[in-house]
């Protein structure tokens, strides 16, 4: 890519990334470069080290005493599974629009499979009333094998791993929302390598602004940077109408 061949340019973009003036699609594109090219990441780190010294100009402020309790509760509460690095909010209304064009290849196939599997799951359930709209997605690998079933509910996002998921002892998989406007992906949490896990709806998750879901490969515990380290899969969601 031209950016990477132009050392002066990518180092200046790195400065704007750290400064925060690189926004929207440009920021997202630069994050992809960071994932791909170590020299770009190094330039970001160099600027971070210098600029972070400016924070010494800020007068330290004691946070509210209750804040640490909230962090502890999120980290160490007995939830029966891994904790989520997120703050719950009131669930958003659900309506799914078409996916972004850049993800059409992956999402088209996934959508068909999602309908089939999700419909199958619905028919397996005992009858309930009333039946609510469901938003689901299937994450598949390049061989079109299903890896995860994702069921987006008001109370959370239920992710079920299939036996096709590669088991890494030193890596985790993380689920991301890719916003329509090209903004940076939003972490939805670490997803299971086997079995089922419910992720809390994160602040900023809006299904009407969802271009796609993405799964990345991360160090244990999830992305250290707040951005995807290595995106492996993307998929669209499907709205199953009320029957």
């Amino acid at each position: 890519m031209n950016y990477v061949n132009d050392e002066n340019l990518y180092k200046l973009l790195a400065a704007e990334y750290v400064l925060g003036t690189l926004v929207g699609k440009a920021r997202a594109r630069f994050q992809k470069l960071m994932m791909e090219y170590p020299q770009v990441t190094k330039a970001v780190w160099d600027w971070e080290r210098y600029f972070s010294t400016m924070n010494a100009k800020l007068l330290p402020i004691e946070p509210p005493p209750a804040l640490y309790k909230k962090i502890e509760a999120k980290l160490f509460a007995e939830t029966g599974g891994d904790t989520d690095n997120i703050v719950p909010i009131t669930p958003q209304p659900r309506q799914v629009k078409s996916s972004s064009s850049r993800l059409t290849i992956y999402s088209g196939l996934a959508a068909v499979v999602a309908v089939l599997i999700a419909t199958f799951l619905i028919y397996q359930r005992p009858p309930v009333s009333p039946v609510e709209d469901k938003t689901v997605a299937i994450v598949q690998n390049s061989e079109a094998k299903s890896l995860w079933l994702i069921d987006i509910q008001d109370q959370g996002i239920v992710v079920t791993a299939t036996a096709n998921v590669t088991q890494y002892s030193d890596k985790d998989y993380e689920l991301w929302m890719v916003p329509k406007q090209g903004d940076a992906p939003i972490s939805l949490g670490v997803i299971p390598k086997s079995g089922k896990r419910s992720l809390t709806i994160v602040d900023g998750f809006d299904i009407t602004n969802l271009a796609a879901l993405a799964v990345s490969l991360e160090p244990l515990g999830g992305s250290p940077s707040g951005t995807p380290t290595e995106v492996l899969f993307t998929t669209d969601t499907v709205l199953l109408p009320t029957s």
């Binding site: 926004v23 971070e48 972070s52 100009k57 800020l58 007068l59 690095n85």
Partner: protein, 177 residues
């Protein structure tokens, strides 16, 4: 702040020592909260960013590398990016002025290992024009986009972009990045 002590606390945090994590929070949270509050300007948002930051620190302590700066610098960078994400996601507009006197004070002591970096940056910042330096500080501390900076500096967008880019170009050369 003793960066060696913070590194030891982070290393113990990485192996699941909750007491060290609590101590790390105690030592660093006022600095990190100041950054979040300055960027987000609302306490509830700053607290949300803090929770997110420390949960990430707990999960990713083992991934810290000294190449990213001191432990405090690394943690503050996580907090900055989370706050910037929130500003963009929540479409938070910056209504207040820059460099509020109640938040920004004279220089606090920096970690020993940051001294050289801090001095070099200050030297290079002082070599910029006043407009370049103020524009860079404004967007850094307040998390402003170029467009938002127009409201605060009251100069044309192109002029502000030019100050920032030329300022960064000069810093890049001066800092040998």
């Amino acid at each position: 702040m003793d960066s060696t002590e913070l590194l030891a606390l982070l290393q113990d945090t990485a192996i699941g020592d909750r007491a060290s994590f609590a101590r790390l929070y105690q030592q660093t949270s006022p600095n990190i909260y100041a950054v979040c509050l300055k960027l987000l300007q609302r306490r509830e948002l700053a607290e949300e960013a803090m929770q997110d930051t420390f949960i990430r620190v707990w999960h990713n302590a083992a991934d810290y590398q000294s190449g990213r700066g001191t432990v405090l610098a690394w943690m503050t960078t996580i907090a900055r990016y989370r706050s910037l994400d929130m500003i963009r996601r929540k479409n938070i507009r910056k209504e207040q002025g820059l460099l509020d006197k109640d938040v920004i004070e004279g220089a606090q002591p920096v970690a020993d290992s940051d001294n050289e970096l801090s001095e070099r940056l200050e030297h290079c910042m002082n070599a910029l024009t006043d407009e370049q330096r103020q524009a860079i500080q404004l967007v850094y501390f307040n998390g402003l986009s170029h467009n938002e900076a127009v409201t605060h500096i009251r100069s044309p967008l192109g002029t502000i972009k030019s100050w920032i880019r030329r300022g960064l170009q000069s810093l890049k050369q001066c800092l040998s990045i």
